[in-house]
């Protein structure tokens, strides 16, 4: 979706302000919000693409006005309610309506340590790839209402396949209960001038990881 999160190429946000000796968390509530977000994620009721989409669905004024852990927290509430883990009433009152987690397997500390170290790759078995390294491609001009990982600033722009990453779970399906539907994933290089015209930096290029379904052969021009 073309939400408040799709920030590449926007103007007007001012300079990047790095904080010297920045702590990992700035407030106790950030520490807690981070931990409960990860812990709830480990319940297995949603995947990372669903979590990202829950963040993207925050209306742009709120998304842009919030700090990042506020965004995480808002999205966590959305996911908990949508997945039926909490009722709107429980959220409202702060009191549990039923005491048990039911059928859910809630991992303990040792299991979680193992999960963190193991991770969970979304790489799938190799599938035949349509595009070759060196081929010119163009990003399809799509504006889906749902989740997508093709940012607006590359849509309709032409680039070169610079590498093949393998075959990975397709976020546009995975975020919406469509299953993994793996597709070949490419590294596509876009010249600064192709992306931004005369306002781009001719000595720069942007490499974007794009799934095969986002791409079409670049049209030849006379």
């Amino acid at each position: 979706m073309n939400g408040g999160h799709d920030l590449g190429g926007m103007h007007g946000f001012g300079p990047v302000a790095a904080e010297p000796d920045e702590p990992v968390f700035h407030h106790e509530w950030e520490r807690r919000a981070f931990a409960i977000t990860l812990a709830c994620g480990l319940l297995g009721r949603w995947n990372l693409d669903m979590a990202r989409h829950a963040r993207e669905r925050i209306p742009p004024p709120r998304y842009l006005g919030a700090s990042y852990y506020e965004i995480w927290f808002e999205a966590l509430l959305t996911l908990l309610v949508e997945q039926g883990l909490l009722s709107a009433d429980e959220l409202e009152t702060g009191r549990s309506a039923e005491a048990s987690a039911g059928e859910l397997r809630v991992p303990g500390p040792d299991a979680v340590r193992a999960i963190l170290e193991r991770g969970g790759s979304t790489r799938a078995d190799e599938a035949p790839a349509r595009f070759l390294v060196g081929e010119r491609v163009r990003v399809r001009n799509r504006h889906p209402l749902g989740h997508t990982r093709a940012p607006r600033y590359v849509r309709g722009r032409a680039g070169t396949i610079e590498g093949r990453h393998g075959t990975y779970v397709f976020p546009d399906a995975h975020a919406h209960g469509g299953g993994p539907r793996p597709q070949p994933l490419y590294s596509v290089r876009f010249d600064g001038i192709e992306l931004w015209g005369k306002d781009g930096d001719p000595g720069s290029a942007v490499y974007v990881d794009l799934w095969e379904g986002y791409l079409e052969p670049a049209p030849e021009q006379r």
Binding site: L7, G8, M10, H11, V16, A17, A99, P107, Y207
Partner: protein, 204 residues
Amino acid sequence: MSGNDHPSLSDVELRVRSLESLLVEKGLVDPAVLDVLIDTYETKVGPRNGARVVARAWTDPEYRERLLVDAGAAIASLGYRGRQGEDMRVLENTERIHNMVVCTLCSCYPWPVLGLPPVWYKSAPYRARAVRDPRGVLADFGVELPVETEVRVWDSTSELRYLVLPRRPPGTEGMCEEALASLVTRDSMIGAGLARAPEPGSPA
């Protein structure tokens, strides 16, 4: 997105606390797990990990080669692996090419080697501008590159995670791996900065 000062801070604080109690009460969250998560990412996993990878690559040509060809295995051989670093790529900075990493759509970041991202990495100014005006962003970090150096910006739109292998600073010949690691800043491994020059007269 703003930084970390927000008018409704205390409101957020209360809401987070209340949700945590509710989740624990319902048995959805084990408090001991929260401790593990916080401890892992606040004290155990951080940019020191990445710095060790970089220092090893600077001193061991065979390791550098493996790192560039199969980053995941090379990084795991030093003991760093897991969530948000399952599929890694390492980008080597050279005199001709400077790599810089961004996630314009959210906040993807290689946790096992760099820990959790700093606020600026997740902030709108960086996400908006890195892909359009990377040299302007580098200037915000006090970095000026020769015009001949190509700047390559990597937008982390997939589950691949990128680590920049910064250039080894001059004057570090013969320094040991540990001393070298201390020169490797977090920002240099994102590509928003350079590795530090050694202090004059520092031990080799």
